[in-house]
């Protein structure tokens, strides 16, 4: 029953979505170049399966690397913002300003600054685009921590960092994981922006470009779906971590 729900429900949701998509395309009679339908995609996967595999791997590891850095850096920035009002007042506008700049326009700048460092560029972009939600959530978790909780450790003379590690972080883990879910998707976007805008022939982005060059619309859609699947995979990895570390937080909704 529980397993059925855990696996069955997402699978059913995805199938319903695919069915709906197929139906929409069919009903509107959209040609491939407007929107390919799910039934067009298996062809693309069969023809290029090895490219999909290598591309996915290349995209995935860069994304995960960027995300990993984002988690560490985001947590640090969030801590600084959470503990100090001044840091919060000063950093927030800068971070928001930076994040409001479309990253697509920054890719060429990065590519010129670190010419040829494709891996570095890609990981950097995945990091830059995905650390903000984490920083925000950690910062908020800290600045809204109820004094009752903080005082448990403060009364023992614990350092701010200890309070963060033992109380604030665990207490905000649910929100932290929520931010991580957002960041996962952003990191993928970052990786792909670089792969598409400053192409270096690697990853799913390269496959997308090649589909574009050839006006192979089903291939392009197939790449997008592959990206979505990678995103979902990484999401389940996050969920697994969440179950382990923040399972306590979910409350029955009687």
């Amino acid at each position: 029953m529980d397993l059925l729900r855990k696996i069955g429900v997402p699978v059913a949701a995805i199938l319903i979505f695919l069915g709906f998509w197929e139906f929409l395309v069919w009903v509107n009679g959209w040609p491939n170049y407007v929107m390919a339908s799910p039934s067009d995609l298996p062809d693309a996967y069969i023809r290029f399966w090895n490219l999909f595999l290598t591309g996915s791997w290349q995209t995935l590891w860069r994304t995960v690397a960027g995300l990993g850095i984002a988690v560490v850096a985001g947590t640090l920035v969030g801590m600084v913002m959470g503990f100090s009002r001044i840091a919060r007042d000063g950093l927030y506008p800068l971070l928001v300003g930076f994040n409001a700049v479309p990253k697509a326009t920054l890719v060429p700048v990065l590519a010129l600054l670190f010419i040829g460092q494709h891996n570095f560029n890609t990981v950097l972009m995945a990091f830059l685009i995905s650390f903000f939600p984490i920083a925000v959530s950690v910062g908020i978790g800290l600045s809204t921590l109820e004094p009752e909780y903080r005082d448990i450790l403060r009364s023992l003379g614990a350092s701010r960092f200890t309070i963060f590690r033992k109380i604030a972080l665990p207490k905000t883990l649910p929100e932290f994981f929520g931010a991580l879910k957002v960041s996962v998707t952003l990191a993928f976007i970052g990786t792909n922006l670089v792969e598409i805008i400053s192409p270096h022939g690697k990853g799913l982005g390269a496959l997308f470009l090649s589909g574009q060059t050839n006006s192979n619309y089903p291939l392009m859609f197939a790449v997008l779906i592959a990206l979505a699947v990678l995103g979902i995979l990484l999401y389940y990895a996050v969920v697994a971590l969440e179950r382990i570390f923040a399972g306590w937080a979910e409350r029955p909704q009687g």
């Binding site: 040609p31 010129l112 400053s198 192409p199 090649s210 006006s215």
Partner: protein, 316 residues
């Protein structure tokens, strides 16, 4: 022997017209000249030019008209063109006969789809002036690159601006019959502009004059070989862009050769040189659509001193 490293920045993706360079790599033309050449794809001329200007790539491939503007905005940037490849630029208006567009004049009263950052669209005012078009009567619909051809295929616009070999083939792919397409090359309709050229970082060239000349020699040889055996060229390309459709890219390459590279002038004088009068006229035409911040000077944009002897640049 110590090879000179010369990374080469293309302006665009690995498509048919890039095949000659890969052929040159694969048939050892560069390594024979003591050069180690790695080719990178790009996102348009505006991506390739700064790459060369910063010196990250000693050589690149870019539109000379974009280069003019770049040099005007960034005076003293160490970059210049040294070998013209597209003697005729691929700037074109592609229309559909079934929608009433066959000649330039037919555009009046129609909807023209144009992506604002498009190179061909940038030259459209020259084209319009040379052909006496009344811009008032043309409805210009801004479109994005990815939607340009689909919109023409859907009949949402009657014509689009674009590169001849890109738009035409994309349209064929979208199922528009070839004989319904009318490709109006701007170069055939009064526009004197040049097209894409090999550009070089001038600091690099000054120190490695011999290597640069050797590079250009190999480029010319690459084109020559590709014209003789397009299939081999495409094979070299497919290796780098595995998902590419060989037939399509071959057609694209052939269009580039026929329309843009192997012009009468090139057949006669060899690949790479320019005609000073035409260049002057091109600058003059550019000045009608672009406000130079300083006096334009042809010498800044093109330097023929690295070109190898004419006979090694003959394509036939």
């Amino acid at each position: 022997s110590a090879q000179t490293s010369m990374p080469f920045a293309l302006d665009w993706k690995f498509e048919g017209p890039a095949a000659p360079y890969f052929l040159a790599v694969d048939s050892g033309l560069f390594s024979d000249a003591g050069l180690e050449v790695e080719i990178s794809e790009g996102k348009g001329s505006l991506d390739a030019i700064p790459k060369v200007a910063t010196g990250a790539f000693p050589v690149g491939f870019a539109d000379i008209n974009s280069l003019m503007r770049f040099l005007d905005q960034n005076p003293g940037a160490p970059v210049t063109a040294i070998m013209m490849i597209y003697d005729k630029p691929p700037f074109a208006v592609v229309g559909r006969k079934s929608l009433g567009v066959e000649t330039a004049k037919d555009l009046e009263g129609k909807v023209l789809g144009a992506p604002p950052p498009d190179g061909a669209w940038a030259q459209f005012p020259i084209f319009a002036a040379e052909n006496g078009l009344d811009m008032e009567q043309i409805t210009v619909e801004p479109v994005g690159f990815p939607t340009r051809e689909p919109m023409l295929a859907e009949g949402q616009v009657a014509a689009v601006t674009g590169f001849s070999f890109s738009s035409t083939l994309n349209l064929k792919r979208l199922g528009v019959p070839e004989d319904d397409l009318s490709v109006i090359l701007m170069a055939d309709n009064g526009v004197d502009l040049y097209g894409n050229a090999i550009i070089v970082n001038t600091d690099f060239a000054a120190e490695n004059a011999e290597a640069v000349t050797g590079f250009l020699t190999a480029i010319a040889a690459g084109w020559r070989a590709a014209i003789v055996d397009p299939d081999a060229a495409i094979e070299a390309l497919i290796e780098r862009n595995p998902a590419a459709d060989a037939d399509l890219e071959k057609e694209r390459l052939q269009m580039a050769i026929d329309d843009n590279v192997l012009t009468d002038f090139v057949a006669e004088n060899g690949l790479g040189g320019i005609d000073a009068d035409r260049m002057a006229s091109a600058i003059e035409q550019t000045a009608t659509v672009y406000e130079f911040t300083s006096e334009p000077d042809a010498a800044l944009y093109f330097d023929d001193s690295y070109l190898p002897a004419a006979d090694s640049r003959m394509l036939k």
